[in-house]
Structures are given as C-alpha cells and as structure tokens.
Symmetry: C2
C-alpha cells in the first residue's frame, strides 16, 4: 500500500535555473526496520538552505503556489556541477507521527508514536525513516522534538572535538544562534570555557542573561582587545566559526597569538609555538575567508561537518550524546522559532526573503501537515 503526499524538491539546471517545487509523490509501504512518518514539524537550518537559497536571486524569482523558479549566481552554479539536473529532496530533520512500520521489531515498537527523525526529505507530508535513527519523543510535542538532531549533535560535537584535542575552552562565533545558546548551556554544564562572539548588544545581553561569562561584540571598536582579554582569561585556542567568509576566523587567530606571544620570554620570528585552530562549520558569509600574515605558522583553519565528525566517534560516545539530547530536549537542547509555515507558505516570496537571511535567533519551522 502506498501513501501519497507532497514533498519539496530542489533542482538546479546546468544553465543556472533553480526550481523549488512541491511534487506529489508515492511513498511505498515501509519495509524491514523502516517507519513511515507523517511529518508535523521540521526546522529550516542553514544546511538546508544550501539547496534552497544560497546564491539564489530571490528578489527576481517567479513565485507561484508551490513553485519557485529563480536564477543562481554563475559561480554557485559552477561550484555545484555535480547537482545539475538531479532533483534533491530538502529538509534534514524533523518530527512527526509513525503511521506505518515494516515488520522489524524496532519499527513495530514505534507505531503510533511521535518521533524525531533525519530523513533528508523533512519538508514533506510523509517521510520514510530508519527506526534505529528515530528518537521516540514520549510526551514531548513534535515542535519540541523537531530540532533534536542537527543542532544538539553539532553543539555536543564541538565540545567533544575540543576535549579530544585537549582544550578546556572554545571560541564560538555567531554565538546567539539557537546552536550557540545550546553550546552556552552545555559548556556551563560541563565546566568548559566559552568565548561567545556576537555582533549586537541585544545578543550579548541575551547570552549574559543565560549565564555566559565571556561575550564579545564584533561591532565594538575595541572588539579585538575584548577578544584578547577573553582568550587570556579562558585560554581558548580553538574556535568554531559558522560565518566562514570575511575576517572572523582571522581575528580569532590573531587574538589567540597575542595572548600566546605575551607569554614568550624570547622573541621568535616565526610566532609562538602555541597551536591555534579555527574550525569553519558554515558559510553564512559567502565572501572569501581572509587570513592575514599576523600569527606566525602555528595555526590551522579547517572545515567541520557533523556527519564526518559522527563517523569519527565510537559507539559509546554516540549513544552518550544521543541520551543526553533526549533527556535535555526541553532544557539544554530546546530550540525556539520565529515563525511557522506550511509547505506552500515556505515557498512564498515573503517567507523566503526572510529565512534566507539566516538572521540569528530567527529560525523558521515548517509544519507540513498543519
């Protein structure tokens, strides 16, 4: 028995047209340990927007009900050559109700339950998911469980990465985001130092109100002095930057070096031997990353992605992280949303122009069956 419903599909053509469209699709009956989830809530994360708005001329797009056609900037078209003409489903994660299950024991146990899942097509009325990857939500609502994978596991992943590399403090940029607020709570729980970089006073207040000890504002004239002081106090020589473009990572490395150089008793032309590392885990700013020659040679800038990180963890670590998320779903790992939109509404000009900005703390939630 198949179930029919609409799902969002994104197609980029070789000549630079992006088509976002709700398509009717037949979902087959789940087999083995698969479950069929009626999707109730799915967040729009920056990683989802890569397939929807990155480099897309939303201003001059054609909007019709359930369909958007837009031009994409040529460099982005070229950079995504592997995607040309291949329809992609959208929506990494979400939550919903299991309405059918394969014969497998794990799948059967979930029938009728609300679950969080990571189907890759969460902007859809229905999604097939692996029962092993589902988190039963118990008494929690689908809205409460919708963001229980990407942000929580990423925030825990930062902490795990820092500890693994022997650091007792980290820097986080764009720190007032949902993810940043989670990280702030986790670091307080774990006694890990955290230097939060924000760009507005209101964001600084928000984080301080949530117990953050070190918040620096990149819009302040003395930003780098603030940063140097916070690094000196926390000894944070490792950071995570979701902005990517511009000078955020550069400022962090330079400030780390100033703190390290202040401890040198003898001058070294090559800079200090304190290792300094920045992970770029997003590209909120698509302009180039700028690295100035001002922190010697003891530095590393590298990418960070959730899936390769998870693949690097052993099973007990993974289970521990997951367990922690489940038990803190409405506390440590709670997310908030600016707006809820249905499948058609998420493709309107107003909605797209708004969530495409990825403004801090203004995340959208898609409710496919509302």
């Amino acid at each position: 028995m198949t179930t029919t419903g609409r799902q969002l599909v994104s197609t980029l053509t070789a000549d630079g047209k992006l088509v976002l469209e709700l398509q009717e699709k037949d979902f087959p009956a789940p087999a083995g340990n698969q479950v069929l989830v009626k999707m109730e809530a799915a967040p729009i994360n920056p990683s989802d927007l890569i397939l929807m708005t990155t480099g897309v001329d939303l201003d001059n797009a054609e909007y019709s009900p359930g369909k958007v056609v837009a031009n994409v900037a040529p460099p982005m078209v070229a950079a995504q050559a592997g995607r040309h003409g291949k329809p992609q489903t959208v929506g990494n994660e979400g939550a919903g109700t299991v309405i059918a299950a394969g014969a497998g024991e794990m799948a059967q146990a979930l029938v009728g339950q609300r679950v969080a899942c990571v189907p890759g097509n969460a902007y859809s009325e229905y999604a097939l998911a692996d029962a092993m990857m589902c988190i039963p939500l118990g008494e929690h609502s689908c809205e409460q469980g919708a963001s229980s994978f990407v942000n929580p596991m990423t925030a825990l992943g930062f902490v795990e990465t820092a500890k693994r590399e022997g650091n007792e403090a980290i820097i986080h940029a764009a720190a007032a985001s949902n993810l940043g607020q989670m990280l702030n709570r986790i670091c307080q729980e774990d006694g890990l130092g955290l230097v939060n970089i924000v760009r507005k006073d209101s964001q600084a207040e928000l984080l301080k109100g949530q117990g953050a000890s070190h918040v620096v504002n990149s819009s302040d004239k003395d930003f780098e002095q603030q940063l140097v002081q916070a690094i000196a106090e926390t000894q944070a020589f490792l950071g995570f930057d979701p902005i990517g473009g511009g000078t955020t990572t550069d400022s962090c490395l330079r400030s780390m070096e100033r703190v390290a150089a202040a401890k040198l008793t003898e001058y070294s032309r090559y800079g200090s031997d304190q290792p300094k590392k920045m992970y770029i885990y997003g590209r909120l700013d698509l302009s180039p990353t700028i690295l100035t020659p001002s922190y010697g040679f003891g530095w590393t800038v590298t990418g960070w992605l959730l899936m390769p990180f998870l693949a690097s963890c052993d099973m007990p670590t993974l289970i521990g992280m997951r367990q922690r998320v489940v038990s803190g779903l409405t506390t440590t790992f709670a997310s908030s949303y600016k707006a809820k939109v249905g499948l058609e509404e998420m493709l309107t000009r107003d909605a797209m122009m708004d969530y495409a900005q990825m403004a801090t703390g203004e995340k959208y939630l898609v409710t496919p069956n509302a």
Copy 2:
C-alpha cells in the same frame, strides 16, 4: 681567550625603525661540546629575511658602510611587538672551519675541520656552535656545505609529512626554487608523485630538464585546468605553499575538489569527503591568504615550520634524514647561488634591493671572511 669579530645585528624599535648593523663582538672560548667556527659561507634564506627586509622600506633607507637604517610598515611593526628594542643576530645556517673547541670529545674531534652548522648568527666572522649539531664536510667546500640544513631538512620534511599522512603525491608551489629543485630530486628518488607549480615558462623548462613529470604554470590561462589534470594523474591531495598570500592555496584546494567531485556518484551539498590539505610554510606574498567557498568542508590549511616538524620526529628518522643529506650534499641536496657578498656588501642598497625580492633561483651566499 676571546676572539673578536664582526657580526650582523638586527634591531627593530617600537617607533618603527629597523637598524641592521655590523657590530664588533667578543666570542668567548668554546666550552664543553661547543666549537668556535670561523664562518666562510652562509646562504640568505627567506627565513633570514624576516629579520632583514620583510615590510622594510629599502628604497628610502639610509645606507652607510656596515649599517642600514630603514622605516618598517606599521602593521609589521605591530606584528613584531615582541622584538622591539631586542637586538637579534641573523643567519640561521652556514659553514666554516673549526678553530677552537671545548674539552668535550665531540668538539675536540672537529678541530681544524670544515663543518656545516646552525648557529643563528651565521652572518658573522665567527660563531659558536654545538658540536652535536655540526656536520663534518670532509672534502666538500664550505660553499658546498653552507645550505646543508634548512633546505635539505625542509624538503625531506615535506616528504616525511606526506608519507606520515598517507599521501603518495604532493603539490609544491614556487617549485623552481633551490628547495623545489631538491624536492623534485627527492620525489623522483622515492617514487613520490609531485605536481610542481611555477610562474614562468623558463622555470617549467628547468624542472622538466631535471626530470619533473608534472609542471603547471600559474601564468597560463588554463592554469587551473592544468592543475586539475596533474592532480587527477598523481592523486595529490596535499600541498606545500611558500607564497602564503593570494590565491595559490585556494587554487590548489579547488582543483583537488574538482578531481574528487568527479568521482562522486551522488551529489553532496557539503562537497566530497576527500580530505584536502595545504601547508603554508612561507610568506613570499604578505597579502592575505584568500580562501573561497568552493571546496566544501573537507579541507585544512595550516602552517608548516621546520623546527616543530623536527621536534615531532623520532631519533632514527632524524638520523636517517641527516645521513641522507650528508651523502647527497653535491647531488640531491646541491644548492646554487646567484651572487656572493661579504658582510659589508650584503648591507649595500644594490644587494639588499636584489635579494629582498626572493626571486626564484636567485639566492645569495654571504662570505663573512672572504
């Protein structure tokens, strides 16, 4: 008994004046396993120029015999705050004749011999060196032995680094340098793939004449296509860039990703999972490093320095590298020089304006006692 001689000293003041000056100095009698070397030959390497010409206004400097006073660009002054007012000796490495030795057995065994050494004040009539760090040159001349540490150990270090990280091929930029030519010979001896990036046809011809299989010219219009093809043929996903500033590292990472993406059967919005790594080991270009968002998140850019690398090696590896250098001093590890200059001559306007350019294959040799 002390020995008196002139040595070059570099002093940067907090208000941005650089003073390079030959100063009379008393060298004490060597003790223990120290030897006193009468310096005959010392190369001017890019790492030496950090203390002599980087950011220095050579055009408007005051040149007098044995002394140069020049203004330094404010950002470079600020970046070297740890050095303000602290006189630095110059010249990492060189070769000369041991004229006195401490009572230690190793030191005594070197009396009267020509040795290569790494004293840190090689632009000097005399230098104290640790006997354990000296390489006896046997029948080789001091000119032949002058560059037996920095370039040979760096080139071998690249190969060791690549092998340690599981790579069978590497990319090298500014590949026609003395160091690049050495690396070309080592890679051929070891059967390691090497993609040489040069910027002139004459440099390409030079390397091809020395047996290089893959040479790409960054001045060619189809530079990146050439680079992509060379990477595809060698599988070089790790590279070494002495230029630092500008887009060389970016071109390498983007080309690596194109080769990796061509193998993907399914599109990934995050790029391929092929790790791509570039080491920046110099700053021939002091402009910022530019990293465009065009190769996903599976990349790393990091510094490479000889001393931390050597510190990471175990003793058998170090001894093996050193032994290889000694036995290949006039073949694999041979260096050539554009000009020889005495201590006073190295501080003339003509000489400084020339070697400050660090033009490929135009290295200077200082002959302090000629």
